[in-house]
Symmetry: D3
Subunit: 228 residues, 6 copies
Amino acid sequence: MGSGQVSFGRTLVVAPHPDDEVLGAGGTIARLAAEGEEVFVAVVTEGKPPAFDPEATARIQGEARKAHGVLGVKETIWLRLPAAQLSETSHATVNAALLELVSRLSPQTVLLPFVGDMHMDHQLTFISALVACRPHQAEFPKLVLAYETLSETNWNAPYLSPPFVPNVFVDISDHLEAKLNAMEMFASQVRQPPHERSIATLKALATLRGATVMRKAAEAFVLIRHVV
Amino acid sequence: MGSGQVSFGRTLVVAPHPDDEVLGAGGTIARLAAEGEEVFVAVVTEGKPPAFDPEATARIQGEARKAHGVLGVKETIWLRLPAAQLSETSHATVNAALLELVSRLSPQTVLLPFVGDMHMDHQLTFISALVACRPHQAEFPKLVLAYETLSETNWNAPYLSPPFVPNVFVDISDHLEAKLNAMEMFASQVRQPPHERSIATLKALATLRGATVMRKAAEAFVLIRHVV
Amino acid sequence: MGSGQVSFGRTLVVAPHPDDEVLGAGGTIARLAAEGEEVFVAVVTEGKPPAFDPEATARIQGEARKAHGVLGVKETIWLRLPAAQLSETSHATVNAALLELVSRLSPQTVLLPFVGDMHMDHQLTFISALVACRPHQAEFPKLVLAYETLSETNWNAPYLSPPFVPNVFVDISDHLEAKLNAMEMFASQVRQPPHERSIATLKALATLRGATVMRKAAEAFVLIRHVV
Amino acid sequence: MGSGQVSFGRTLVVAPHPDDEVLGAGGTIARLAAEGEEVFVAVVTEGKPPAFDPEATARIQGEARKAHGVLGVKETIWLRLPAAQLSETSHATVNAALLELVSRLSPQTVLLPFVGDMHMDHQLTFISALVACRPHQAEFPKLVLAYETLSETNWNAPYLSPPFVPNVFVDISDHLEAKLNAMEMFASQVRQPPHERSIATLKALATLRGATVMRKAAEAFVLIRHVV
Amino acid sequence: MGSGQVSFGRTLVVAPHPDDEVLGAGGTIARLAAEGEEVFVAVVTEGKPPAFDPEATARIQGEARKAHGVLGVKETIWLRLPAAQLSETSHATVNAALLELVSRLSPQTVLLPFVGDMHMDHQLTFISALVACRPHQAEFPKLVLAYETLSETNWNAPYLSPPFVPNVFVDISDHLEAKLNAMEMFASQVRQPPHERSIATLKALATLRGATVMRKAAEAFVLIRHVV
Amino acid sequence: MGSGQVSFGRTLVVAPHPDDEVLGAGGTIARLAAEGEEVFVAVVTEGKPPAFDPEATARIQGEARKAHGVLGVKETIWLRLPAAQLSETSHATVNAALLELVSRLSPQTVLLPFVGDMHMDHQLTFISALVACRPHQAEFPKLVLAYETLSETNWNAPYLSPPFVPNVFVDISDHLEAKLNAMEMFASQVRQPPHERSIATLKALATLRGATVMRKAAEAFVLIRHVV
């Protein structure tokens, strides 16, 4: 990235559901793309009937495409596992999907949802993706980070589920605008304040995470592994 | 407090240094005062020469008085222990000061700085105050909460010092204004954004903590003990 | 509750299996009922053939009804999910059952089994109930607490599963008798000392939890969320 | 064991897959056997078609038999649950298999894989085995320990999954040779350095764990429960 | 100890103040002594004027002597560091006192107060004793355990100070009587129920810790290190 | 560093005592120096009479100079605070020394001893250095890491002091030789195996940390903060 300190390189962002990637890492994606890195977004699930209306699914996928365009995502991959049902999908199936993805793309950096998020799809995506990133072969992602998701990360059980205590801060001062624009593409997902999933809250979070490290806006992450 | 759910009753807010009480609990103080509760603020330390300029100390104490006026604090108590030197003050001395205070005021509720804050004065204030609140006699505070302090709570070591993961949220939607006004009284302490100790960051934090529980603004706390 | 400090209001106690509600919160239920609050108990599972004998299931449900009568429970709701098989029941099904329950009853306070209990039914009940209590709409439970269950909470893996470290203590000095009477209704569940699930152990736990806060008897909880 | 401090007595080692017992406790097994204790190894899973090639499964089981011979294992029990699919096997089935095993063998000591290992088979084996070891009847294992497994224990999420921080160290200075020999029997599993599952890494780990307690070689464990 | 499983051998119990050793390990001391082991108790501090009345100090030391007689302690060592002032005593001094003690007695087993106790004397005793037990020379204690102290262990900050989650349980069914008798020798320290430091609470704790492992009475410990 | 992923830039390694920097980060120092980065080592303490023999102090400082020469350290700074007495040195003094250092050198990267190490000098060095690295001004270190120290990090209290669970791995395959050579310069500090502070143990640790990420040798760190 910009400062010459870290090069994220080819980057894969794994989103359990469309919009998680924007909530958690939209500014970082925009910054990486602006700096010339290739950023891939893999959307793990999609709403399937009868639990979900196919039209709603199509709509949100269209929104995601527009949001990814705003951010400069190079390619969006749809894994099409069943939303809200990862816990009923065989662990081997989820593992295989993510392993194939990581093998094929060979990303240097992977961004994951946080294992302490309230939604089981987030937890299971994290777990399977971590298996796919195991450092046991010649090639594996050198940098693995977990992002926070408003309306998931703050609602789990304090001191009983793993807490999100960020140790990596990405300056997105020049890319907050793009992040908020991308989020606005998700007309079906954005809520009015004071809901967590609102533009105002997203902005407040960027301000707070930025202030922690003297930046106008930042996205915060928990480091899972960095091999240098 | 308002909703009829909890009555904080007579409340003591313990601040290691002037302005911590506003940063961490200014909105809650304003709300309690507005609801007719008696709120006491104890400022534990003061800057002493040669480490601190007496004029600067006088100035910040004056700012605190004005801020407390804005919030409706009933009485400010100055314990006048040496700032930034609690770790060199005998533990028995700090214990005694806080014990005397709690015994004299008999508060039903006590608000403390967070033990995981970076500043040792915060840690030691928390530890001694907790001793003063021991539930081993007829009278003791029934509700003990720890507040977060911008520019202290977020700078400690992730996953190595105790993390601030809030489980109590006080709605301050109608009192955020008073909190920010009170903070502005601390002309010598407020910084420009993107510093953590800025009005903008304080506002962002209130927005974020509020959104977590569908409120326009909130202050968040970690529960230490509640006896019902 | 009595002291005027906290009003629990309309309260829902969620029990994975009949008797968990008495072991963990029987005294609190009795106190709330005595103070005029409406207390609902939802029993999440029932033993189903072939794993369980229908007669045994009927017997324990009859015992529960008697116990709830002793405590003053307003209404017992039977969710009838399969006992010891929640981990094979779809997560969406458990979520839906608890969400419907919380929506219909609109409790102000919810008491849950502890997520660190050894029994997976306890863990999964906690997780789904927490989803049902999300603070993201106009109405949601303002106070969520987790109770401890003798013969579950103490048998999980020390320092590896989430530890039960209580921060809320409810004085049940005047209601311990009712709690023990209610437990005795569960003739099929009570064991002889030194088994954890014995009257003597239950009494010892109430004595210990009480002594921690200078009360003759108490029930202890871990706070999950309190919105004030 | 040797020093007269602890007598492990009849010991059961539970291995999710063949070779876990050697990686984690091979030296301890060899030492116990040499000291005259009866050591049983239960292999929980086996690779089943179509996911696994039956020939490969037969080969690795043959390797395990040879390894157990080297170590002096008294009896190997094959539970034959499906490898890499414990999360799709009913929890009740895994519980029942381990409960039957513990009841039948009545071991005084049980060694388990670590619940924080990356592989779900390890986690689920731990959880079900802990249920089987509950101290609620006349007979139960008095000592329960969790071992570490190279290529599983170090790859989970730092600070988010339970960390392996050993508190029990078994001196295997005289039995490291046997452990390494046993591992070499697993021709299909051993990898070349710098892979974690290599002889060189296993030796380094034994050296490190030994040095922590001034021994030439040791195996390290996390204590789950010891009843004296 | 009795069952032939563990031999504690020569044992040193370190008490920050007289009576901690009885509250935390009185039954274990009685059992070890009855089984023929040599048990030493080191009392780290004594109340010194002006903070403490010399007569009170003499009285409590006399009480301790009687209590130790009841339990069968072989020798009581008085380190005479200043009570409630360990945090103002140089760390090197406390280290040296404990190092000399451990070197001279060469205990196989050491029992310590818990580092998460509320009293700083407990924390600092633990820390210095752990230094004295470092496994870096030919001789060092092979078994190090931390005991719990009613009126200290339960009053620290939940989830913020290290929690006492016991993993070692010593059956004291035949020695609870002796423990309670010894405690009664401390006329100046025992309180009436419902105070934590009462005979009734001590009994309740022994019942609860026992029930967890199907014993009539037990003392519970956290394992710090066991070298086998 | 080499791979183009991270540029450590101007780097400061803070060592409580001479040789900590080599034990924890000797390979990383050698690699950085080889790659052209400027590496500074600050030795915080020195043994002072009467606790320490001035000749011994001079000898070990000479050893450090030789070791630093081997590694390619640009400059060694001696802060000369009293060894084993940081806990008796005023916190303000230690803070000031480290703050002045960080301000003067303006390092981009800082390597610290681990706050969970057994030695209080390590803990206090960490705490004061973290204050010096606060991200609240224009310039501050962008990358802060904590290293592990054989004979300190493994001897603290499992699950009670902060655990070292590494998330950053620096490949030192080409620099292990230099690290071991540098360590051998410390003739007065190196011990014979199986002591933790031996060349053999240091080598085993590098092999193990390397194997975790498929490298021949690595040094492992815990990330404190990374601002990108």
